[in-house]
Symmetry: C2
Subunit: 387 residues, 2 copies
């Protein structure tokens, strides 16, 4: 089976793009990735998107974006798995190239959460939870995260402000990312002073919903042009798994067992363990998700994830740099695009093009994307070849 | 690369399922396919669905259906490509097994078009066309089909009632399918006497929107249990392509060039030509689509597709049996499920289990699914091994 490389990357800034249509937003990232790939023309398009049918009244994004980007004729689909849509599209592109049936795959994640028509983002987002048993009773994604966080604080005796480290880390790193929605570090006391949204989730526990698009062009490693200007990056591990959609169906709401399985598969395929990972992009849609992700994927013992953030061990010069370009919290959370942003950011690190946010000597990075409270989990290991 | 077989099939009846939830509908088809596969447990789930986020306020169907069917943990995604969603999910499942990274894939197409909440099916369906340039101006899918049909009638000088053969054929075959929505043949004069919907598209030119679910379980041919009760069926060709989403962007609205490409790819992979095809399941969402599909994929010369239907050459004992279990017109059109229904029906033919609708000696069948007016086209060739 062919080894799959990331031949090109592209992204737009994350924020409110009221002057840019959904298709234009997607196109900008796709075009940047194709140019970056130095002439490799994709033979398939995989679109990760979560809510365009509801918020922009536009489905069938595969055909729309293929045509709008001048790729009329290539096969194209939309992949949806809630907040993990982009990462799931990445896995489908990876499997397609891996199958030998598709020469090269353009994967784009695109989402417009602001300036929308329709029911509003929070109501639309609730369609990603169990509609009959959760959304219908008013359980929004943030309320769901609050239940999980409350349990986490109680179960592990976390002190007040114990999760503050995740937001501090994210904003410190966002300050060095010109595409981040928030490019400003926050003061240590800001977390305790900010507004409560859904107790105990405060404003700094939530990644901001935003607009944005990111794209990667996948090709066989052997097909990369000899004159390609960047050191190659390959996908050395890929895993995906699911959990119950409804939170009340879980034996342990703090387990994130889908992520545990997905990470396990990715590690197994790559022949690596946590020790080999130079940096991690976790899915910090809520700060408690970051803590639980560290724990589910073996980087921290249960109940200890938050301590890593507090101790500064997740900083760029720490033991395990995380959210290296701001994560969902500071780069912003454009839904179905986030998983592809992570791939772009990991590729920047592995190309050593992350500027002042560069993780020194980064050879192996893991990216993790979640749909809902890890009802879907997708995990990829990106690496310089030979690692 | 492994040869991919259809190890199990399942379907629900097509019609109005007001007493069955979306998840229950999907589960029934999935469960039937798993039982039919004789104990092969799927390692991945691919859901084809078009409008559940709009019409049932339920996204994230991959995780939901995996859990509801007792498959909690397996990887799962939703694939959307308008009316071709089910067929596109089939292709993703095929690529996944073909890649060697997924042992077995359950593909389910599920759709509830009736008894819905939200904006109503026709408005939701319009999201599958170009929202900014078509839907916004009131161009519904049926109006789009009317423009195409008008052009077809004019361009090729088709006499009044010239397309009647497609509906007659479909209803004649639907009469032999216990899962069809309409199980009654129609009289020859019915086509000319029925109501006009959107001139020149009349009630018999439109496949009825319906509820339904169908599923196939894909596995490596070599992994089929020795005691499997049915002769094996393999996917010997698979192709997909796209066209402009907006009709006004096409050089020739009668070309269905995406289908031409998709069929060409499938033929090339299988090493076959049209002569080898024993039966064809085309996408007769509108009767003119059936005519154009026959022409685009090489079964008829441009402008001659309708004559095949009129001459009876598409009947079960004709030169090229089509819509052998009723097609979209009589079996019904449950949107994102239709492409999987076609796979189930083709497998029934190749297993020689199609009852009174059996195509004698069927060894090779082609199935074709379209999203919008062939903005997405997906084509598969199913065959008894060795053909």
């Amino acid at each position: 089976m062919p080894e799959v490389a990331i031949a090109g990357i592209g992204q737009t800034g994350v924020g409110e793009h009221w002057d840019v249509s959904l298709r234009e937003l997607g196109f900008r990232a796709m075009d940047a990735a194709m140019q970056d790939a130095g002439g490799i023309r994709p033979s398939a398009l995989f679109v990760g998107n979560m809510l365009a049918p509801s918020l922009s009244r536009q489905a069938h994004l595969g055909a729309l974006l293929a045509d709008f980007a001048g790729l009329t004729g290539i096969e194209s689909i939309l992949v949806e798995a809630a907040g993990a849509s982009g990462a799931a599209a990445l896995r489908q592109g990876y499997l397609a190239v891996r199958s030998g049936m598709v020469d090269s795959a353009l994967v784009v994640g695109v989402e417009k959460f602001t300036d929308t028509i329709g029911p509003g983002a929070e109501a639309a987002l609730a369609t990603a939870s169990d509609s009959d048993h959760e959304a219908l009773h008013g359980l929004t994604p943030t309320a769901q995260a609050a239940l999980i966080m409350q349990r986490y604080l109680f179960e592990y005796g976390v002190p007040q402000g114990g999760l503050a480290g995740f937001a501090q880390l994210a904003h410190a790193n966002g300050a060095g990312n010109p595409n981040a929605m928030y490019q400003k570090a926050i003061k240590p006391e800001a977390y305790l002073e900010t507004d409560m949204v859904c107790d105990p989730v405060n404003l700094f526990d939530i990644a901001p919903l935003a607009d944005g698009a990111a794209a990667v062009l996948l090709a066989r490693l052997e097909d990369l042009p000899a004159e390609h200007p960047y050191p190659p990056v390959v996908i050395s591990g890929s895993g995906q798994a699911s959990d119950t959609l409804a939170l009340h169906d879980r034996e342990d709401p703090l387990a994130f067992s889908a992520l545990k399985m997905a990470a396990g598969k990715a590690f197994q395929q790559a022949g690596l363990t946590t020790e080999a990972v130079d940096f991690l992009e976790y899915h910090d849609a809520y700060s408690v998700f970051a803590a639980l992700s560290l724990e589910a994927s073996g980087f921290a013992a249960p109940g200890k994830g938050w301590e890593l953030a507090r101790a500064g061990e997740l900083s760029l010069d720490g033991w395990l740099p995380c959210a290296t370009l701001g994560g969902l919290k500071a780069r912003g959370n454009p839904g179905g695009a986030t998983g592809v942003y992570q791939a772009v950011e990991a590729a920047l690190q592995l190309r050593e093009l992350a500027g002042r946010n560069q993780v020194k000597g980064a050879r192996v990075g893991m990216i993790q994307s979640l749909g809902g409270p890890a009802a879907t989990a997708v995990c990829h290991i990106l690496a310089r070849p030979g690692n």
